[in-house]
Subunit: 332 residues, 2 copies
């Protein structure tokens, strides 16, 4: 099976929103009048972002999910994406499952595959995604990292830390009960991009980012981009690890080999969660709650944006905690 | 040096045409009213598209050139691009040279880097490029593969076959004089995307494609897309190999180990040339010549589009030649 057959068989579908889809030198996309195109790009590499035995259907889902998550963080409505694939071989069942996982998520978000490239090479998946953001009175409605202001509340959606818990457990660094691992693996392998929440937060949130490299590091980007500091209530974040509750509820903690300190590190530094970390002024609390409800996405208030630079951590009694949590870096 | 340092140090520059450039979850691009966005994506893999000892500056050039070539084939004006890079290590001199070659070509075309991704992994370069195409009276001005009509002339720009000659000579499959190899290597390593010609052909050409996989294969895409056939005058194509003239002029063909049959195969099947292959009705011959002159790009008429399906080859006397030329396939 040749390069063009791979595209035709597994990835070519009729164009819908695009003026022209797969099959020419370029795809053609015409954003609606009065909108901007939000564009993001993520590359997933074997051994770095997934294992050789990764389920191809889940991998197809995740490859697009991490990109949709960037659109969510901008409050952009998904439109389309391109897919570049380097494949060590043409493995038809693998490609079929990959395409199935990819298109299931794409269809759920009305996001169309409009072009791409396939080549032989070490397995590499590169997706570039396109979303739409309205421009109102000359003002982009995109959520940026740079809009946080002193006095804003800091929120995180869903749960953070579970994906890293799964990774550590799969690598034998931690031991947790089977039901906890199952829950955590689903978060690692089938992350949910918070697209509906991102859309609902337009005009409410002042800044947003998705948690891909870990909450501490990603919060750092908001603080830097907005030229502010923050205090984070660590145990509020801790509560947002789904697995924490489940694990600590296990009978007498049977089979749990995770300390409080490790739970905190998972919540603060675990990457790959694809939750939204965002800020909004206190007067918007009701609107944030309404956005969470409308998008059926849990949201937790975890701290406060402050004028003083730096990132401070406190426990539930407001006592300062030492900050020795670092973020994940692909070259570290 | 970490992931974010690589971006900040080598690739971050202030946004120009983009509403928002590198540094947030998404870039924001606002196409001009009445235009479509042409989008294309190419992935370059070590060992497949370039060698380990490839000059990084030339590689930066070529990575973008192959993408700009897709815009050229659509008649789209380059606007912006994203870059995803998997790097086995952070090699600063290599990155500096790569960025230099990349930005030199980008700046020459006013094409802005607006986002991307870097990760550790086997060397892989994935660029997605964005260009602008006007829509006039609801009609896209993009050049497509599907517009060729029986009776149209078939043209190719510049020279084809030289890039493959260089590849074969570097791999020891052919022997050519040093000055010929120098000429051919420049074509392989620093291809010229025919952007100005593509723009000049809007409203004149009926169909276009860039020659990346070889003239025969790429012509096949036009024939299939337009549901037509063609007759190609092989020795007209042959004349368009720059190296052919130079090599056959060498004194008594000293040092030349290339048969006529090999020259034909190079011209018809050699890939990596990034010339434009296009069609236009005979009444447009003067306009094609004017477009070639205005864009300072040589153009050669090499055949005729016909209603009869299939691809026929003839020599300079019009005698049929056997067609045993295959195109390049990345998985063959």
């Amino acid at each position: 099976m040749g390069e063009f057959d791979v595209i035709a068989r597994f990835f070519k579908r009729p164009a819908r929103c695009a003026a022209l889809g797969i099959g020419d030198d370029c795809a053609l996309l015409q954003p609606a009048p009065g909108t901007q195109l939000a564009i993001s790009c993520d590359m997933l590499v074997l051994g770095r972002h997934f294992f050789a035995d990764a389920d191809p259907c889940q991998l197809g889902h995740k490859s697009l999910a991490v990109n949709l998550s960037d659109l969510a963080a901008c409050g952009a409505k998904p439109l389309a994406f391109t897919l570049a694939l380097a494949l060590p071989e043409v493995n038809e069942p693998w490609l079929e499952a990959f395409a199935q996982g990819l298109f299931a998520l794409a269809d759920a978000h009305g996001c169309e595959l409009i072009g791409g490239d396939t080549t032989a090479g070490p397995l590499n998946i590169c997706i570039t995604v396109f979303g739409e953001v309205p421009v109102v009175n000359g003002q982009s409605q995109a959520l940026l990292r740079s809009g946080a202001r002193a006095g804003d509340d800091l929120y995180v959606s869903g749960t953070v830390g579970d994906a890293r818990l799964a990774l550590d457990a799969l690598q034998g660094k931690l031991t947790v009960p089977a039901d906890v691992l199952t829950l955590a693996r689903a978060r690692l392998e089938m992350p949910t991009p918070r697209v509906a929440l991102g859309l609902a937060l337009r005009g409410i949130a002042t800044a947003a980012i998705d948690v891909s490299d870990g909450l501490m590091g990603d919060l750092g980007h908001i603080l830097e981009g907005s030229d502010v500091g923050a205090t984070v209530q660590v145990d509020q974040v801790l509560r947002s690890i789904a697995c924490y509750a489940r694990a600590t509820r296990s009978e007498d903690h049977v089979g749990i080999d995770v300390s409080l300190e490790q739970w905190r590190a998972l919540a603060l530094c675990g990457g790959d969660d694809y939750e939204l970390l965002f800020t909004a002024p206190p007067r918007q609390r009701a609107s944030v709650a309404a956005a969470a409800q409308a998008s059926q996405t849990p949201v937790q208030r975890i701290g406060l944006i402050e004028a003083e630079a730096g990132l401070r951590l406190v426990d539930e009694r407001g006592q300062a905690l030492p900050n020795h949590y670092a973020s994940f870096d692909h070259f570290a």
